[in-house]
């Protein structure tokens, strides 16, 4: 039953460009998919390790800028030395973008997981802001507010088949879909493994996790690296699809969008970011017909507060809980809270 449902969903997603004729809606689907990848990466940190990254757009933007720069080429002066970089093909620059973001995730994790609490949040916020200021000011490298334009699309060189560039909307849709499925599988495998169980254990009770021999900082840093790399991959895809990158990509509001997607869908569940991402990917499309951007943001903010008050666990657990209660069939729905290994202190606390 569940397998059939999954197959149906995949079939629906795989054939979407064939029956969806509206190019604008297809564009919305692609961008939504890219943000779903970013939300999944955030969920790995926020949902499974309990660490809130409020600079996730920093990783996203690093991925976008790194892949854009390696793909378009640049020359900069650093202390009198001129570095010239010739353009690289789109597939490689995608990997560079992913790796650059992952490296940043490693450095940030190493730095801020020395202490717990609000520090990781503040460090990630600051990191995104510093990166934005650099992107605005280092005009030699990033063109500043003038933006990097003419980014070549993602391209694959297949031996014997020649190069294929993902230039059309439909091909970008499939590229995004493949990346989204790959990210989903990566997160799923990671979370279901020993590493994932260690992460949940330290989220629920860190001292207990330490006492059974889990190297907490190591797992937190690992989660930060994977999460940042996935966000960077999403950013690379975004840059290669939109084909223009400017410092506005670092706006805090994008991080907020990702957080809302994860929280609404259900943090710490595999399906949560997908559900939340799809909802909030399409809300602006509907909203923009009747409300100004400011009013939309006010609705976003208000919704965020309401969700924390009314559905602290998000939509997915609430829906699956409903199905379980109604039909008594646990197979219908994913487990309400990932792989729960220890009593959940955060849920037991009075709200």
């Amino acid at each position: 039953m569940k397998r059939g449902l999954t197959a149906l969903w995949l079939l629906l997603l795989a054939t979407l460009p064939l029956w969806l004729q509206d190019q604008y809606l297809l564009h919305v689907c692609i961008v939504t998919g890219i943000f779903v990848i970013a939300a999944m990466s955030l969920n790995l940190l926020l949902g499974y390790t309990g660490q809130l990254s409020l600079g996730h757009v920093g990783f996203f933007g690093i991925g976008a800028y790194a892949s854009a720069l390696t793909a378009t080429g640049f020359d900069v002066d650093i202390f009198g030395h001129t570095f010239v970089h010739d353009p690289w093909p789109g597939g490689i620059s995608f990997l560079v973008g992913t790796a650059a973001a992952g490296l940043c995730g490693y450095l940030i994790g190493k730095l801020s997981f020395r202490v717990r609490g609000a520090y990781f949040v503040i460090v990630t916020v600051s990191f995104a802001e510093v990166i934005r200021i650099i992107a605005v000011n280092w005009v030699d490298l990033t063109q500043g507010p003038l933006a990097i334009t003419n980014i070549p699309p993602f391209a694959l060189g297949l031996p014997g088949l020649g190069r294929y560039a993902f230039a059309s909307k439909a091909s970008n849709y499939y590229l995004m879909l493949a990346a989204a499925i790959a990210s989903y599988v990566i997160v799923k495998r990671l979370v279901g493994s020993r590493i994932g169980r260690a992460m949940v254990a330290l989220r629920e009770n860190e001292s207990l996790a330490v006492s059974v021999g889990i190297d907490v900082t190591r797992y937190l840093v690992l989660a930060a690296v994977v999460s940042a790399a996935l966000a960077g991959a999403a950013g690379s895809l975004y840059a290669q699809y939109i084909r223009i990158v400017d410092p506005d990509i670092f706006l805090f509001i994008y991080t907020v969008t990702m957080v809302i997607m994860v929280m609404t869908g259900g943090k710490g569940t595999l399906a949560g970011p997908v559900v939340g991402g799809v909802i909030f990917g399409f809300v602006p499309v509907i909203g923009r017909s009747f409300a100004s951007p400011e009013v939309q943001w006010i609705l976003y903010g208000g919704l965020m507060i309401l969700i924390v008050f009314l559905l602290p666990q998000g939509i997915t657990p609430a829906v699956s809980g409903f199905f379980k209660a109604r039909f008594g069939d646990a197979r219908m729905a994913p487990p309400a809270n990932g792989n729960l290994v220890l009593p959940d202190a955060s849920q037991a606390g009075g709200r």
Binding site: L46, G117, I122, I253, V295, W297, V308, G349
Partner: protein, 290 residues
């Protein structure tokens, strides 16, 4: 050398208002364990309140500032009452998300009410600056510094010498025991948040006339306040005061001798440096005042 002295003077004057921002934020974090993302919006609110009172309602500049601070106090009390009181006992992340939501709502409301255009506030101060030798400072900045110092002193007095301050310190040390001793924790939380918000609004009311007033001014103010608070250690009032002056010094020196484009990045460089050297804040060993 004259240039150096000028930078130092500017840093000290800016530092007073930064310290106000930091004290407000660290007070709220220390006593309520809330990472207050609306702090910058209260700062922007203070600045806009002065702008509106002076330009819109024709109120005297010197009267507009205390009114703006009082309005900030009230707004803070309202936010605490409506959003944080129901969240007591919830984990720090959930409260943080609520505060982020409140921040977005407040910022965009400001955008709608006051428009996206940057505005400047008319002040009654003379154009000619106060010149001492080669160093010159505008009268407005001197005034802002004086008021900021008075407010810092007031905050210290309130916390260390009054009954309310004693209840706040008790709540900070152990809120359960304080409650058992008859301290009304709810009232203390509301008062703390209101005072912290009032201080942020005061910083905005004082810096608004110095710089321009714009709807996104709160974002950087929030981030700077975080930098100040980390510099001094979360929850440490003396640390926040010193952190405020420290950040202003680094910013002025950075803007003067490195690059003015990276002025606002200096605070974050500080955060990273502090976390590398002494993660609990530079004053962690010192006596915690609040």
């Amino acid at each position: 050398l004259a240039q150096l002295v000028q930078h130092l003077v500017n840093a000290v004057i800016l530092g007073g208002t930064y310290a106000l921002l930091g004290i407000g934020l660290t007070l709220i974090f220390g006593i309520m364990r809330v990472v207050n993302f609306t702090h910058g919006e209260l700062y922007a609110f203070g600045a806009y309140a002065v702008y509106w009172l002076v330009a819109g309602a024709g109120v005297n500049f010197f009267l507009a500032i205390p009114i703006a601070i009082a309005a900030g106090l009230l707004l803070g009390a309202l936010v605490e009452y409506a959003l944080l009181r129901p969240m007591r006992g919830a984990d720090i992340d959930a409260t943080m998300l609520v505060m982020i939501g409140a921040w977005i709502v407040m910022q965009n409301s400001e955008m709608i009410v006051w428009g996206g255009v940057a505005r400047s506030i008319e002040t009654p101060f003379p154009e000619t600056p106060l010149a001492v030798g080669p160093v010159s400072v505008s009268w407005l900045r001197v005034f802002a510094f004086g008021v900021a110092l008075a407010l810092i002193a007031g905050a210290y007095f309130l916390i260390n010498r009054t009954k309310l301050g004693r209840a706040m310190r008790a709540t900070f040390q152990d809120s359960d025991t304080a409650a058992l001793m008859g301290v009304n924790i709810r009232a203390i939380h509301t008062a703390t948040f209101a005072i912290g918000s009032g201080l942020a609004a005061a910083a905005g009311a004082l810096l608004g006339p110095v710089f321009l007033v714009e709807p996104t001014m709160g974002d950087l103010a929030s981030l700077k306040a975080f930098a100040i608070v980390i510099l001094g250690g979360l929850g440490n009032i003396t640390g926040a005061t010193i952190g405020g002056f420290g950040l202003a010094l680094v910013e002025e020196m950075g803007a003067g001798y490195v690059s003015s484009g990276y002025r606002d990045a200096m605070g974050f460089a500080i955060i990273i440096a502090v976390l590398l050297i002494k993660p609990t804040g530079l004053l962690a060993k010192a006596e915690r005042v609040a």
